[in-house]
Structure formats: C-alpha cells, structure tokens
C-alpha cells in the first residue's frame, strides 16, 4: 500500500460551492464545502484501521497512521491556501484571519465570551500541561494563574531567575480606570485614549477588554503586597502620563515594573513551592514542535551545560517580549530577543505589524561607539520637566563648545518646542509625537551635545514652583530664591530621586543644577505575533501574550499601558481563553517527546548550533548586531522612506548572508557559552529586520510610531490613510522574510469615531 496515491480533487458545483473528493486506499469520500472537508481530513487516520490480525499488520497500520497524519496536515495547509487565494482575488482580503471577536455590543463582548467559552474541569486540568516561555509580567502572571487553576505549567526563562525579566525595568507606572481621583476617568475613556493613542490601528474589542480588566489588576496587585505609592490618607496615589487628560497611573516611585514583576514572581513562587510550576531557569527556547499542525512542545537549550532538551505540552504560550534589540541600541535588556516569536513565525504563526516600533523620547543620549545599550528616563519626568532647545543656532554652537551653559540662557532665547507646537498637551504629548519633534529640532541643527543628538529636559521651573508651594505651606519666605530652590529640590528628589541619581551616575552631571540631556531611543515594539481575541496565534495551541503579541497598542503605545497589557493578558485573559482550546484536549493524555516530530525539530536545532560553532569565521557576533542596528536606525528608524526601506531590505539580506559565512562563535556547544546564545538571537534578528523593512515599505501611510516621509501634512505631522490602510498586516512566513505573504485583518471601529489624532 502506498500512501502517495492518496489524492485530493476539487470540483466547483453549479451553485457556487466547492466539493472535495478524497481518494484513499481504494476508497473515497465526497464532502460538500470546505468546512466539512477539513473535518474529514482530520478524521482520516481513523479510516485506516481495518481489523489488523497479526502483529505485523498492527505495526504497519501504526506506520500508515503516522504518515496519513502528516499528509492530512499537508492537505489542511493546501486547502487553506487554495481558499485564501480564491478569496484574495475576490475582495483583496485574506479571510482566513479569523480574529474570533465575539458578537454583541462592545461593552458586553468579554463578559458574554467568558460565559460562553468552553471550560476544562478541575480534574481534567491536572492532566494537561502548558509550556510558558518567558517570565516577564505576562509570562509570570500567566504561569501563576494557570498553575493556580490546576494546569501543570512548565515555565522557561533564559535569565538566572524569573525575577530578572526585563519588565522589571519599567519605571513609570500602570494605568487603570479606577477613577480614584474623581477626574472623570472611566473604562470607556481609557479604551478611547488607548485607541486614539494607538492611532486607530488596534483591534477595538481587545482594547476594550484591556480597559475593562485594568481595575482588577490594581486590586490583585495590592492584595499581593505590591507597595504602590500612597498619600497621607493611606489611599493609592496616581499620576498623569503622556497622551491623556486624567491621572490614572498607579506607581511605585520609578520602579513600578519591578514591584509588579516581583508581585507576579511571588505568585509564581507560591505555585513552584506547590509543585504546580516547574521552573526552567537559564533555558532558551530553540524551536516549537508541531504535531498534526498543533503546538505540542518546544526544544529548549540548557544554557549552563548546552544540553538540548525536549519538552511536550498540550499548549505553548509565548511571552518572550518585544524585538527592540533588532536596533542593537535600545532600552531593552541585553538578552531581550525575538527568537521565540520568530521560531513560531517560521513554524506558521503570522507576524503582525513588525514596523510599529515605539521610539521613546526621554532616554539618555548615546555617549560613544562603545555604547552597549540605552537607558530610559521615565516618561513621568515629562510631568514636571520642560523640553527645550536654544532658539538661535549661535547659542547651540556656544553650548557645544562649552562657552555657554544652558542655565545661562534666558527664557526668550529658549524654544520650548512641544509647548509651542502642541499647546493643549504641551510636554505631555504621546511618545511618537515627542520623539519626532525632538528629531526635527536636532535635524535642523539645534541638538545640544557633541553628537548633535540631544535636547534639554529642564526641571528649574518645577523646582521653583514646588519650592514656592512648600515655602507657603511651611510659612517661610517664598521670595528667598535659595530657600525656594532647596525646598523645590527636596520635592523633586522625593518624586524622581532614583531617576536623577541614575542620570548622574551615567552622565556625571547633576540634574538638579543643570538641565538633563535626552534623546529618543527604541523602547517598545507594538508589532508582534498575530493573535485572535483568545490570544491564540495562527498555530492551533500556540498563544502569544504581552509585548510578544500585536493586539492592543496599535501603531503607538501610551505610557504605563505595557504593564497593564502584560498583566491583563497573563492574569485575566489567557487563563480563561486557553480553556476553550484545551477543552478538546482532555482525552489526549500525556504527550510523548519520543516522536518523529520532536526528533526532527531537535535535529534541526542541533544542526543550526553546530553550523554556528563550526563556522570559525572572522567577525564577532556583535559586529553583525551593530551593523544591523545601524541599518535599522538609519533606514527604519524614526522616519522612513521608500528608498531607504528598499535599501535596508537588500542590505540586511546581504548582511545575513555574510553572517552565515563569516561569523565567529568561540567555545563549544556543550558549555556555558554566551556568544553562542547571542549568535542564535542575532541570526533571528537578521531575518526579522528584513520583514520589518518590508512591512514598513508596504505601509505607505504614516501612523503612530511609523512615520513615512511621503505621508505627512504641510506642518510635518503624520498623515494617516484610513481608506487604504485601516488593517493590520499579518505576515506569513514563506521560506524567506522578503517572500513573506501578507494577510490583512480589516480593523472595524463600532464604538468609536475614527478621527485625525490631534494633540494641539
């Protein structure tokens, strides 16, 4: 019996439907309609079993069944492709992107969905394994909650402890529509601000759900012992962030991310102690394993001894964060990488909107060639700091040469360009707007440090304002400038002390006395793995949460929303929605890692590692990473154009080819080898970078963090093109990044009117 004789035939019926005929083993089946046919294909293996009598027959049958399953999954793919092609021709949209948004009014969608989706009973949860990759806010909170619900969770992180994930570095705060300040905040307003801040490029239903669960997060975290800032009455304090008109940001000095992550980490620890989470520190996910088209496990590398391990599960959750490090210099941690997301992309998950990158306006400027990463100064500083450059070019020159100090310049010679251009929001415009404005000034020659890429963030006005206030409160002389300065500095120290200290350590200047210098830097990536409303990627059983997915922030993220999304996905969304998928898996039983799928995935991983180690080229891994970063920053950075993006695609491809020819990875694969780990990550960045440029090239409009020079208003503001680009671009891997296939998810806004984003 030969399986390759199995055939598939399509027939167009007269009424417009498609019929499919499947031939197999002398018999055949006819099905009307693609949905039914797909079901048939999935059950095909069952048709094979025909009362085997001898052992030999039984073995043969098992073998045939395995082959049939492989063929069936191929068919499934083929069918989907055929379907896509035909529908694409018809209405220029790929309809296989089923975002599974529930019906009903926006405000009820999540509640209705939760009450309708399938659940897994507590007894059955005990026999279901889930792998979580990454232990940032999303990964840690998801691991903890899934374990608490009763699933067996295996969690992986490349750091030496889950507490090190880069969520820990988030400074400013977390948004929640609690309206504790009574300033008119509501779920709808948070939803509206987020959609508007995202430049109308996010999925409405997801954002509303995010705003809805935001209040739960604060309750949850306080119960966990997260020490948020409080006022003298003992109640929670709030502050304001860019792009909004209310104070809804909860914070813990400049270390909110740290406190929230440690909260999630402690929840994880509780489950680790109970044995419900098995923690794999210093392990890196190397590949995803698919069995019958479903995510069934991963191949991981133990970074301490280099061993390659197989881990199986009924579902795999990717929570590995964003890909900002494709720019080499970013505010991400040194180890932050795209590999987990990229590996699932290559296995069939669509990668969505890679060009949406957030350039954060307030970072410490680059000091030289040796720079290894950039340091963020929290956006909260813009609450009190005023951003300016000198008005006259000769002053800029004098400052650069050291003849003039910024504090010597009087008010009339300063250009507070954000206050000038955006009077309504002033220094608190959203990040993309503030970043572009800084770039515009520096490009015009007004940059104030030796590289010409820095603007001032000045606290003198705030210090005086607070100082006078304090003097009045304390009944002291508010006209004594020395006293006022001292009191004002105390207030500023209490609010931003750790940030000021950090600045002073890095730059060696005292920001209480002289204005800070800042410049935009890559910070966050709104793009990521495409997911549906349930946070499932286009691979069944594979989920993406937190920064790793694309769903909530559109083309630009508002400050203090990343923490909110990470925890919302992990604590409150995924643990519910994953049950819908897993309810079909309660009879599956333990998944063996001793199968051809795991075998071949492991082999591929080993080959990749061996080829890197044995390459013995002439350039270090960082050499390539830095080059890639430069291409990305120059051509896919804060402003992009057709010519640059086309060049970037070619240059990245060339660089990638050179990398595989000439990279040098020292040491062996069976030891603690940081260079090897880094090489694997840079290899993936070298592919992602190309897709990034392709995506940016395709989207000829400007929106949020994506600014196309071809699409701007006469005043230089970003110009959106809602008619042609009101969609999310989900890219399907097709052998090479440049050949990736575009699937469009149309964005429909029911509860919101799409407007030009204005902060003037």
């Amino acid at each position: 019996m030969k399986l390759n004789k199995v055939k598939i035939r399509y027939r167009k019926n007269s009424n417009g439907t498609t019929s499919i005929r499947l031939n197999y083993f002398g018999g055949y089946s006819y099905e009307n309609g693609i949905k039914k046919a797909l079901r048939l294909i999935r059950t095909l293996p069952d048709h094979l079993i025909t009362n085997p009598n001898t052992e030999k027959d039984k073995l043969k049958n098992i073998h045939l069944k395995e082959q049939a399953l492989i063929i069936a999954s191929d068919w499934e793919k083929n069918l989907l492709l055929k379907k896509n092609e035909s529908s694409f021709k018809k209405n220029n949209f790929f309809s296989n992107l089923n975002s599974k948004i529930p019906d009903g009014p926006l405000a009820d969608k999540w509640t209705n969905h939760k009450s309708k989706i399938n659940l897994v009973s507590p007894a059955n949860k005990r026999s279901i394994d889930i792998i979580v990759v990454g232990t940032g806010l999303a990964g840690a909170s998801a691991s903890a909650t899934l374990a608490e619900l009763g699933y067996n969770v295996k969690t992986f992180c490349f750091q030496d402890s889950p507490r090190r994930a880069h969520s820990i570095a988030a400074q400013g705060g977390i948004n929640a529509a609690k309206n504790y300040q009574g300033d008119g905040d509501s779920t709808y307003r948070l939803f509206y601000d987020t959609i508007k801040g995202g430049d109308y490029r996010s999925r409405e239903a997801n954002v509303y759900r995010l705003a809805e669960v935001s209040t739960n997060i604060i309750d949850q975290c306080v119960a966990q012992g997260v020490p948020f800032a409080r006022d003298y009455g003992g109640l929670l304090d709030n502050r304001s962030f860019g792009g909004v008109l209310v104070s809804r940001t909860f914070y813990a000095k400049g270390q909110t991310g740290q406190q929230l992550l440690l909260g999630a980490y402690s929840a994880m620890n509780r489950q680790i102690a109970r044995g419900k989470i098995k923690m794999y520190n210093r392990h890196e996910m190397m590949d995803l394993v698919l069995v019958n088209g479903k995510a069934r496990g991963i191949i991981a590398r133990n970074l301490v001894n280099g061993e390659i391990e197989r881990h199986s599960a009924h579902a795999v959750v990717i929570a590995s964060g964003g890909y900002g490090n494709v720019f080499f210099l970013s505010t991400n941690a040194m180890g932050s990488n795209v590999s987990a997301s990229w590996k699932i992309h290559k296995r069939g998950a669509h990668f969505c909107n890679p060009c949406y990158t957030q350039i954060h306006p307030t970072c410490i400027p680059v000091s030289g060639e040796h720079q290894s990463k950039l340091t963020l100064m929290s956006e909260s500083l813009r609450n009190d700091g005023r951003i300016w450059v000198p008005k006259k070019l000769e002053d800029v020159k004098a400052i650069k040469s050291g003849e003039l100090k910024p504090t010597d310049l009087n008010e009339n010679d300063r250009d507070y360009y954000l206050e000038r251009r955006y009077p309504a929001f002033g220094n608190l415009v959203p990040r993309d707007v503030a970043s572009r404005a800084a770039k515009e000034r520096c490009d015009a020659g007004f940059g104030v440090n030796k590289t010409g890429e820095a603007v001032y963030l000045d606290f003198a006005a705030a210090i005086t304002r607070y100082g006078k206030e304090q003097a009045l409160v304390k009944g002291q002389d508010e006209n004594d400038p020395i006293l006022v300065k001292k009191l004002g500095q105390e207030v500023v120290r209490a609010k931003y002390g750790n940030l000021f200290q950090m600045y002073e350590k890095i730059v060696d200047q005292n920001p209480y006395e002289t204005p800070m210098m800042i410049y935009p830097a890559v910070h966050y990536t709104m793009g990521g793995v495409w997911v549906d409303y349930n946070l499932m990627t286009s691979i069944p059983g594979c989920y993406a949460i937190g920064e790793a997915n694309f769903s909530d922030h559109g083309a630009n993220r508002l400050g203090a929303s990343a923490l909110m999304q990470g925890l919302a996905d992990g604590y409150f969304v995924l643990p519910y929605t994953i049950g819908d998928y897993l309810s079909d898996d309660i009879r599956t039983g333990p998944i063996s890692t001793d199968t051809p799928e795991f075998e071949s995935a492991e082999k591929e991983v080993k080959n990749r590692i061996d080829s890197l180690i044995n390459n013995k080229g002439k350039n270090s891994v960082d050499f390539y990473h830095k080059k890639l970063g430069k291409i990305m920053w120059d051509k896919c950075g804060m402003s992009r154009n057709t010519k640059g993006l086309k060049e970037a695609m070619i240059e990245i491809k060339k660089l990638r080819e050179d990398f595989y020819k000439n990279v040098s990875v020292p040491g062996s694969s069976s030891e603690f080898n940081e260079q090897l780990a880094k090489a694997g990550r840079v290899a993936d960045f070298l592919e992602l970078g190309e897709l990034f440029a392709k995506d940016a090239l395709e989207r000829t409009e400007s929106c949020g963090g994506h600014f196309r020079e071809e699409s701007q208003t006469p005043e230089g503001e970003a110009l959106r093109d809602d008619k042609n680009f009101s969609f999310s671009s989900a890219w399907e891997y097709n052998g090479e990044p440049s050949k990736a296939k575009l699937h469009k998810e149309q964005l429909k806004f029911e509860a919101i009117e799409v407007k030009t984003r204005s902060y003037k």
Binding site: E148, D160, I168, Q224, V226, L236, S266, N269, R270, H370
Partner: protein
C-alpha cells in the same frame, strides 16, 4: 586609559579557577564597566581566545543579574550602583583591577564570573509571597488604607534586586539582608501580616539550609547594597522571628 585586569577564570563548577592577567588599552572614561568588559571580550574573540563569561542583562541597575566583585568590593568602589552602572571614570589610567565572581558556597560558580544564585529563588519559594489567588476577585485596592510611612518602608524594602551583593560582601556570606528585605516588605503591609509567622520561620529555615553564613552585624551588606536596603530590615526580621518562634 590603559588598565591591567586580573580576572578570575574558571571553566565550570567542578574545575579549579585562577586569576589571569590581561591588559586593555584605550578605555574611555564614559564607558560603563560592562562596556569595558565587552570591549575586552571582543578583543579576546578576535585573538581566538575564550571570552570572559559574566552575567548581565538590563544594564540599568534593576534586574540584579550583574554580579562582579571588583577590587575587593561587590559592584566595585562606587556606592548605590550595580556593576552595570559603574563607570570607568571611577578608575585612573594605569590602574590594576581585580575582578572576581560573587563568592559563597551557596553561590557556586557556573563559569568565570557567572554564579548560580538559585538559592535566592528557593528562599523566596519557601514563603516570599502572600497566599492570595490571582483570579482578580479580591477586594477593592483602596479598601484597606495603609499608613504612608509603612507603605514607604515596605517599598524601600521591596526595592531589593536580589543581586547577592550582600552575601558577597559579608565576611560570613550571610543572606540576612536579602531575606529580611522580603520579610519586612510583607510584615509591614496588612495584606502580608496574616501569614507572617509561617513566612519568617520557613524563609529562615530555607536560608540556613542553603548554606549561607550567620549574621554578625558588620553592616557591610548595607553599605554595598546597590539599592541601599537598610539594616533596619534585618532587625525587623530578628524580632519577627523571635516573636514567631515564641508563638510557635
């Protein structure tokens, strides 16, 4: 700047290590210490030698991963910084810098300067949490007001980054400052008071099992702590522990 580096090289946990001398030139005073190490590694790779392994991640002083013992002090001569925030302007041209891993039996060396601090994770797992379910069905966040003074103190304790500098600096390799920071954070908050007794007993038990030394109040940990965690926390843990063990 031209510098002489004396770096601890150790292939893995089983093999003996030794100090190896290197020289490095053209170091910019604006570099961070780890950027200097990057530069050094780049040179080693280009010479075909094995680069120095060291732990690092966020490079902004918050993840707690970097862990170097520089010239006899955890995180080097500067105060209130981690290794990644230490800048080369703190050194002079011609200096010799001795770089070692954080040493303690409870922190076995993985390779060169990278050590295994999972003992800290296990201590946290023994009780460093509040047993509340993460379902979100908790009471409103403002239901229990917390005195600002206590909330601030809890926050100060909670800023511990778990880097292990306290253990490394302590002549006894004691982990009291780390453990007390967590115990303090929770014991200062009403939410954490409920299971305070078990928490302190279990965490201290685990701390002892991991093989850390005893605290003799030298105060070195407080001085070297990059986050300035106060000895007050250790005292608080001592009294919590006394109370808990008397209560049983």
């Amino acid at each position: 700047m031209d510098l002489t580096l004396k770096i601890w090289r150790q292939a893995n946990v089983d093999e003996d290590g030794k100090i190896v001398n290197y020289s490095i030139s053209d170091v910019s005073p604006d570099m961070s210490f780890l950027e200097m190490m990057d530069m050094h590694n780049e040179q080693l790779i280009n010479k075909g030698e094995d680069p120095v392994a060291f732990d690092h991640d966020c490079r902004e002083g918050i993840c707690g991963m970097c862990s170097m013992f520089i010239n006899g002090e955890a995180h080097g001569p500067d105060r209130l910084v981690t290794t990644c925030q230490l800048h080369m302007r703190k050194f002079k041209d011609g200096d010799t810098i001795v770089i070692e891993p954080f040493r303690a039996n409870a922190f076995p060396v993985i390779k060169d300067l990278a050590v295994d601090r999972s003992a800290f994770d296990r201590i946290q797992q023994a009780g460093g949490f509040i047993s509340v379910n993460t379902s979100g069905n908790t009471q409103d966040a403002n239901a229990i007001p917390i005195e600002k003074h206590d909330a601030d103190k809890a926050f100060d304790a909670a800023t511990c980054i778990g880097c292990g500098a306290c253990v490394a600096s302590c002549k006894n390799a004691s982990a009291m400052l780390f453990v007390s920071a967590k115990v303090s954070q929770y014991s200062l908050l009403p939410q954490g008071k409920v299971e305070a007794t078990d928490r302190v007993l279990n965490m201290v038990k685990q701390m002892d099992e991991e093989g850390f030394g005893n605290c003799t109040n030298t105060g070195a940990c407080e001085v070297e702590c990059p986050k300035g965690i106060s000895l007050e926390n250790v005292a608080r843990m001592n009294s919590e522990y006394l109370y808990a063990s008397l209560k049983g």
